[in-house]
Symmetry: C2
């Protein structure tokens, strides 16, 4: 199995006898509770006329920009210190001329200067229930369009199957399901259903299996039009394909990819910002860009009796800011290189959580050859190192396109790619993609490679929390130490998602707001 | 069960011992045959310098426009006679001010004048393997964007379940699958697998069922994150919902909707033209619009020894054209009102095939309220008469939107809606939609209703071929009688799809081309 499909989340089950909470959750499932009850974006109390509060935000990632926007519009003075040349953090969209700031190996993106030719090297898709992010898109004028994960016309390439030949996703899924549904229909007996289920329920189970596998009236799988037709000629009768060999299909290492499009954060309908994911930070910067200091290297974070002192270095000058609060979205493991006076356990926690080694390649293709294979978006899968190939759902039928040529989430594979030179990475990705698209290399004009573990100011991708690490460190790190808060997707149960970053900010902001409200003079004073 | 989900297609199975054809089809399934081999768009021989061929096309539907374009660019003289005020046939996109030409009840569309506010009253989506249509989109500059069928955040409303309360599609699908997968895992025994399947295959079957249902390590279904979380707060641990009651779920009339997004012509990735489906006829008209005569009522079609004579009426004048060929996409059942000298069996066939009674409503909504329920596209389902509600995947986060408020494919329901007045239709659709979206009616600004069975020059939707009717009439009607050809989606195995219309044209054009090549003087002459 591919490791990333494993549900690593801690499953917090609601018991059947869970009382009112369970009833509440059931009601949510049935849509009886207004949606707004789930949105946790805080409504901060505005500062009073003579009140001054300074907040320093370390890092212009999504959580930092969210915080700056929320605080700024309520009267807080905000300074964002960003070490790199740009805002956005891992929200990185590459276009013509952009710097790829890999340590020891900085490069420029060589895509043509064309608004359609961009590559989302970090987050690339948004599910419909990421209400915080979508709310900001709406508020900040970030236009959205559909994004496609699941495409039944894309390819599945399993080195263990069919002598390594590619098959269409729709064949792979349809034929496996057909076989399994037939087997289940044959095996399940009425007595397998426990009371209060009845014989009528058994008939419904059979009806369900028939639709699941597209079985015939005798519950046999004989191929299905869902796999597409052997010949595309609608002027003539349909011709079914011969089903793939089930014995081969059962060898597949890819079982779980059949559920990828079912996952809570990946199921259709997904979206992307028109023109690149960095339209999100661009939207925030229209509001808070005047508070942003780029190339600002933090040297020290000192908790003080009231507030936090920040020492940073910018344009050859060392500066000090005494702030009331500090919101810190610097990747936690990089705090060991910054002087601080945090409590020992807090400091230990910052170093405890490893980071992902995600690796991506984007290729500019001189022709959208995949559209000739009737693929217009979505993902092809392979058991090779590159793992995935994505096709852009925008710019359909234009001449050129930028596609994702590798999306590596395995730790060893990410490390392997990171250690190659940039040309070697592209070469390996092309060589492997040829198995899915013969002639692939002939379309490549140029490419970008992003090994997050070697990107400057990052040295890693999302925080890789385990259940044990969560239990040991999460609450400790999520709580403020003095007036210092850790934020970022690292401080959420959705690492790697902008929604997680935003909620980490909401959590810290709500805490600051509470403290401010508690210390405010009462209205009667 | 909802009738339209039933596979009505004639299943033409390839036997396991099918010889070279089966091998070829197997190879297609594995993607070893170039895609171009499946495209049947004919490459007509251009006419010679002194050669004159006149083709009259009856009806400016998609098959007629396709024919006109292909013939025109090879030197044929083309005249398109269209009875109505517009080209496109059932490809009908309604915008501000457009005429809805219902017999006895003509109306104007009252949507705001805004390019985003349109309603596709006929075809509305294109699958990636409809290569003919997509090829023309590319060639004619019709821009495309993704269209969404499946949205796990949309609603399922089954009057027989949960006291008629709506549930999210993701709960409905996830919880049913979980239960069925658990039951199958419990019931299937190693001995149920027949040789050459092995004990190892059995273990793989279990692994498959685990991913299918998101079962735990003991193959129990205990709820799944695929159903979404009970509370959306990524700063805190995930909280699963309580699974829905399986006994209720098994009462569902909707079993088959779980496979809707699996169907060959409905599976993701689907597309739509940017700005409305009528961008397709608009693209053709840029090439052949000068050959189009609107308000041209055909009065007679006479087969002659060489060619076809057409008598038609336009602007108070009766005209006669003697053409070499006639391509006829008038709905077959309307030919009984036109004088002709067809053979008796051919004439009988034209009247033999009934038409669908599809009915649609589009509503202009003053707010995109569905986006607040985190629905951004796709389809909600109900067992009520309106059957479906669609949310536009374009114009996300704008103020207003046009949504589909009813899509009725049942015969009796289509007839019922057709017999209501326009205001009554809207009222009924609003009343039913309130079950899915409380407050729905308060957002309605205006609406359009399209009962295809009463639309002028149509009197019905797609041809409703049964297997028996196919066997009796299809080949007879598909072949020319004299120099007269029936075309249109009605003359295909994909009625209701533009791809079917185009292939009907391809079939007729290839036949004309063959006749022309055979009668041409040889190159040596």
């Amino acid at each position: 199995m591919i490791p990333a499909f494993t549900r690593r989340r801690f499953l917090n089950l609601v018991g059947a006898a869970g009382g009112s909470a369970a009833v509440y959750q059931m009601a949510m499932g049935l849509g009886l509770v207004p949606v707004v009850a789930r949105a946790d974006r805080p409504d901060l109390a505005p500062l009073r006329a003579n009140q001054r509060r300074t907040v320093v935000i370390l890092g212009a990632g999504i959580s930092g920009l969210t915080s700056a926007y929320e605080l700024g519009r309520k009267g807080y003075q905000v300074i964002i210190l960003e070490a790199s040349h740009r805002a956005g953090g891992r929200n990185l969209t590459l276009r013509h001329g952009d710097l790829i700031d890999e340590i020891g190996n900085p490069r420029r993106c060589e895509f043509d200067p064309d608004p359609d030719l961009y590559f989302n090297a970090g987050p690339a898709r948004i599910p419909g229930h990421h209400t915080a992010l979508l709310g900001y898109c709406r508020e900040l004028g970030v236009a959205l369009e559909p994004f496609i994960n699941d495409n039944r016309d894309a390819w599945v390439h399993d080195q263990a199957l069919f002598g390594g030949r590619r098959v269409r996703n729709r064949d792979y899924i349809t034929d496996t399901r057909g076989f399994i549904a037939e087997l289940a229909a044959k095996s399940i007996k009425p007595q397998d259903l426990e009371a209060p289920l009845t014989r009528a329920d058994y008939e419904q189970v059979l009806a369900y299996l028939r639709q699941l596998g597209d079985l015939d009236q005798n519950f046999k799988y004989r191929g299905s039009l869902r796999a597409g037709m052997a010949v595309h000629d609608p002027s003539a009768p349909d011709v079914l394909k011969q089903p793939l060999d089930i014995h081969e299909l059962l060898q597949s290492k890819f079982m779980n990819l059949m559920s990828f499009g079912e996952m809570d954060d990946q199921a259709a309908m997904m979206m992307q910002p028109v023109g690149g994911m960095d339209q999100v930070p661009a939207g925030f910067l229209r509001k808070v860009g005047h508070n942003l200091r780029l190339h600002a290297q933090v040297e020290a974070v000192q908790l003080r009796e009231r507030g936090v002192r920040i020492v940073y270095h910018m344009n050859g000058t060392r500066s000090v800011i005494d702030a009331d609060y500090c919101l810190n979205c610097i990747p936690m493991h990089l705090m060991s290189g910054i002087e601080h006076n945090f409590p020992a356990d807090y400091a230990a926690g910052l170093s405890a959580v490893p980071r992902g080694r995600l690796f991506k390649i984007g290729f500019q293709m001189k022709e959208r050859f995949w559209e000739r294979e009737h693929i217009y978006g979505g993902i092809s899968w392979t058991t090779q190192d590159i793992q995935q190939i994505w096709y852009p759902p925008h710019g359909i039928h234009r001449q050129k396109g930028v596609m994702l040529g590798a999306y590596t989430f395995g730790e060893a594979t990410g490390e392997m790619f990171a250690r190659l030179t940039h040309p070697q990475r592209l070469q390996l990705a092309i060589q492997q993609a040829e198995k899915l698209h013969p002639g692939y290399g002939s379309y490549v004009e140029n490419g970008v490679s992003i090994p997050w573990v070697r990107m400057n100011n990052m040295l890693g991708c999302a925080a890789a929390w385990s259940v044990e690490l969560r239990n040991q460190w999460y609450r400790l790190l999520q709580a403020p130490t003095g007036n210092h808060y850790i934020i970022g997707d690292q401080m959420s149960y959705l690492p790697g998602w902008q929604e997680g970053a935003m909620y980490s900010a909401f959590h810290a902001l709500a805490d600051i707001d509470l403290r401010e409200r508690q210390t405010a003079p009462s209205a009667a004073a």
